[in-house]
């Protein structure tokens, strides 16, 4: 791949005997917003720190912009990092923090001051230069950390859960701004997050990691619609998985009945015999009294109701199954919220199914 700015080949990392990265092979394209998504302890931070140069690889190769990084220390790599704690230097002013990376550049001091002002303006902190860094709010620290890392115009910006310390409103606002900023500067961003929604919103491509391995690398849409394994499907959003039996192009699904399936619906290869059939909550709907449909139908008992304002989530147990499925419904005007214990008719589509080899 010629346009890969970061290229890892079979990278392993051991901490003593603990195998933290287990054969990571990955190409990240120049200018893309790339996310590393996975549960706590799966090795996201380790992978990011490996790229930054804070950890060295136990085996495998890491290329940045086509150059082998094995003997290049973190301070010589074309990467900069935004730390989870932001690591703002508390004894320096905002401007001194932002301009820290320019200390060794050959620019004259007027040019440096201009670069600092531009960087501050870019992150919406114009005029904050003389403030003391230790007196900033969480959101402002985050912006200073961003400006400080971007001022050197790195080839790759590494962000380790930069939004996790912010409250929900501010986090959503910063997600927008980060995305806008990335488009504006055109630098490759690699974001580490354990928040699947954040990864879906912001990324061009996402690598889902479990236990030191990449389980799937895909665009947000492909990841959501066509998860390779049941585990990925259940990690990204909600995925109802029912036991099924597949023979040829037909699946017999517990509680839903028989339905035709195509190879396209089995991203990891068409299973034969016992399999898992996955369906998302929004791919099913509840039919209200008198409503008719041309879709496939089934029925089940509502065992739990979760009212979210804009949406209602129903837990429904289908006959012949024990685990409830989650169905989401928009709360359109005039549509009642069902009570627990109601028997509900359900409409669903065979095209929405995803088949997994594991049940």
């Amino acid at each position: 791949m010629t346009d890969a700015i970061v290229s890892l080949t079979d990278v392993h990392k051991y901490y003593g005997t603990y195998h933290a990265l287990r054969g990571i092979t990955l190409d990240i394209r120049a200018g893309e917003f790339f996310s590393l998504l996975g549960p706590s302890g799966c090795g996201k931070t380790t992978l990011l720190r490996t790229i930054a140069g804070f950890e060295d690889v136990s085996s495998g190769t890491l290329l940045l912009d086509g150059k082998d990084m094995a003997r290049v220390a973190a301070n010589k790599r074309p990467t900069n990092m935004v730390f989870q704690s932001y690591a703002i230097f508390p004894h320096l002013s905002v401007a001194e923090n932002v301009g820290f990376g320019l200390r060794r550049s050959s620019m004259d001091s007027a040019a440096k001051a201009r670069a600092v002002d531009e960087a501050l303006e870019m992150v919406g902190l114009k005029g904050y230069g003389t403030r003391a860094a230790h007196a900033l709010s969480g959101g402002q620290r985050q912006r200073v950390a961003l400006a400080r890392a971007l001022i050197l115009k790195p080839k790759v910006l590494l962000l380790d859960e930069p939004l996790s310390a912010l409250d929900k409103k501010l986090r959503e606002q910063m997600q927008n701004e980060l995305r806008r900023l990335q488009r504006q500067v055109g630098i490759t961003f690699i974001l580490v997050t354990h928040d699947q929604e954040e990864a879906l919103i912001m990324s061009d491509r996402i690598a889902v990691m479990f236990e030191g391995e990449i389980a799937q690398l895909a665009s947000p849409q492909d990841l959501y619609r066509r998860p390779l394994t049941r585990r990925v499907g259940e990690f990204i959003g909600v995925m109802n998985v029912l036991p099924a039996t597949v023979s040829g192009q037909e699946a017999d699904i517990a509680g839903l009945g028989r339905a035709p399936v195509t190879p396209d619906q089995a991203p990891s290869g068409m299973p034969e015999g016992t399999a898992g059939a996955g369906i998302r909550p929004e791919s099913m709907s509840i039919l209200y009294d008198g409503e008719t449909t041309t879709r496939r139908t089934a029925s089940g008992e509502v065992v739990e109701v979760f009212y979210y304002g804009d949406m209602t989530y129903y837990d429904v147990v289908l006959p012949g199954t024990t685990k409830p499925m989650t169905i989401s419904m928009k709360n359109v005007a005039g549509r009642p919220v069902l009570d627990r214990g109601t028997t509900a008719r359900i409409a669903w589509d065979a095209e929405a199914l995803v088949l997994f080899g594991d049940t």
Partner: protein, 270 residues
Amino acid sequence: MKLNLNWLKGYAVLYLVFLYAPIFLLPIFAFNDATVIAFPLKGFTTRWFADLTTTPALHGAVLNSLFIAISTAILSTCLGICAARAGARFSFPGKQGIIGFIMIPLVLPEIIVAVSLLVTLLQLGLSLSSWTVILGHTLICTPFSIAILNSAFATLDPSMEEAAYDLGETKWSTFRLITLPLVMPGIISSFLIAFTISLDEFIIAFFLTGAEPTLPVYLWGQLRFPAKLPIVMALGTILVAFSILLLTLAEIFRRRGIAKAGGRDTGGFL
């Protein structure tokens, strides 16, 4: 509950009286116009303090003590920086054991340290001088320096150093630009504590001192002459005031350091 609390208060007051009453007697007799240290007081005078300025042997002892205390403070603070930095950043096999071993002089009776050092030095054929006292004092001050600097380094976010390194600085310039300023209050505090301990220390100085006595050793020598007793009281008053000042400064710097690094107070001496 109420009763218990009253008992506790009474105990605390008694304890403080017992602890500080002798120290309060120092200035009282230092300004008392009589050679005999006894009540009733005779009248106010500053002549004991004036006498201090006209005793050359005393001046030699003071200079000697200052030299030893400053050298000790520098040495033990440097050793403390290395140990605390290593302890905060790296984990290696036997780390707990090694740290524990370094801290032992904190609880070892000084007389044992003094005697064993004396025996070792004599075996090695080294002659006693200010340098041997510095050696002994560094040994007992280093654990204090480590304890103070540990709290300074432990509250320092490791990503601070990584951030500076990531922005192009070298390991050394990172230490100079980021680490050192952030732990500076701890360093000053360690320096002041070590200085104070060395200045007041008697047993090790008594055993290891050469031809020139330190101030406490000189003082002890003067106690044989009852007529000099009020002068000793005056000197003691100055020393107590000076020590309290230094310890207060040390604690102020230690707290300021923790606040600066954004951490919470965990321990310290005062």
